[in-house]
Amino acid sequence: MSNTTKDFFKLSKKGKKLSPPPALSHDALLAKSKLLAKRSVEAKEAGLDVECQLWAAAALELLAKAQLSGIHSSLIVEAENNNSLLEANGIPTGTAVRTIGAATAYTRLKHTVPNFSTPVFEECKKLAERRNAELHSGDAACASMPYEAWEGDFWNAADLILKSMGMDLQEWLGADSKAPKALLKAYRLAEIKASKQRVKHHATEFKKTDQGKLGKEKFALLVQETAKLPIELKHFHYLYVAYWHHECPACKTVGAAAGDEHWEDLADDQSSANYGFQIMERGYSPSEFHCPTCCLSLVGDASVHAAGIDEAHVETTEEDIKYEPEYGND
């Protein structure tokens, strides 16, 4: 269907923003996410566990889409659907808009929300999957999940998304924010405390082992050996982009950290690059740690950072230049 009543090109060149329909509007999505989040809080106060989780899942999905739509509405429509893309750019087609699913929205948030790391993404995805299973199958997916198992991760994810939009739980929930704010604070403190306790516990247990009683020189040899051990992906809860060796905060041998790419840049010093090649640097932010020696396992950014594993891991690679170098005013 062509719309000949408006010259969309001219409107766009004049700087006039063409508004998407309410289904894709940032403001409308945000307002609805607030409503659903409030329903979740009310459901919890009424002792309705399943409803609380269902409303929370829906609220989080709409909040995610509001975040993406705030960048551009085309980020929340299915790319293969031409009409939805046109609608996302404010060009009416007279057809119903199809938005992306929750999992796709959360995948895109990994690029648009700071600290939306793999563990956070996976918990959001699981919440969406439980919601789908509860609504579309015979499974009692939500009923079997106690509050403690999911709501800390939910509020954490919501807070990260809100922060990326310059908002917070107070602005999202208003008068209903008191309990969630307290819960989130307690959840984050508990994560940090649990991490430190876990490190302390594993350090204590390690000292009781034969390896933990080694003298300085033999311990140094042990450290060297552990540094050569291959990194076993099966020890990690989630799949990441990068894995690297890192000192274990508990037993001080060498374990493995994992995380996703945080930044990528051309190395300042290109002098060692062969002709036709360039040296790239990539920084990875740690989200999980595992030590094969003392079995310390830390999952999530807060846990890992609380244990002192917080520096980005930088990898340098020499890559062939597919294009000539970028121009610069220098």
Binding site: K13, G166, W263, D265, L266, D268, Q270, K322, Y323, E324, P325, E326, Y327, G328, N329, D330
Partner: protein
Amino acid sequence: MAFAPDLKGLRQKLEKGWASFPVPCTDSQDFAEALVQLGQSLGTPRGTRSRRRLVDELRPRDAHEVSVPSLSRSVGRGMQPWHMDEAHRVEPARYVVMGILECPPSTAPTELLEAHTLIPSKLQEEAISEPFLVRTGAGSFYATITARDQQFVRFDPGCMEGATERATRLMIGLVDQKLLPTHVHHWNPGSVLVIDNWKMLHRRADASKSMDRTLYRVSVMEGSSR
């Protein structure tokens, strides 16, 4: 050290295309941070070659020392041609914040030219119609020097190659005009020059004798990211 520029006064001065003033700093880190804060008050600072670093430290180099495409590779320490910064980006930076913390009196000045004087009336049609290859590695694109609704004059002989014979002749003609500067900024220690990159072209004068010239620069995009 928090730097609090007089934003209203600065914007008034920038209406003529540039503004300069001293910034009281003794430490290079504080100085660089002050330039970033100045940039943040005007728009959104953006890294140039390195996306992570907002402040460039520029020193004159001989052409043979430069391995990447830049004006330094073509003119070395000599006088640069008139240009705007970031002509190689689809949307060039709106402001360029430059500063020199320490320098001898003979440091090569920065010269400014009102961009609208670059194109004489007889070349206006070619400027809007003849395409150039803006060469910048994987991000290369085609553009004309001026365009309808474009608020700046895209001009940098270092990265713009005529894609047609007329375009090539146009570039030669514009460079050969030998236009005199509208303003010459002589650097003093601790001085800052803010250029409206969309209104003014600029160039560094001959720096053959400026051995200790370190210029700090922050490129600022239009609009705030806050």
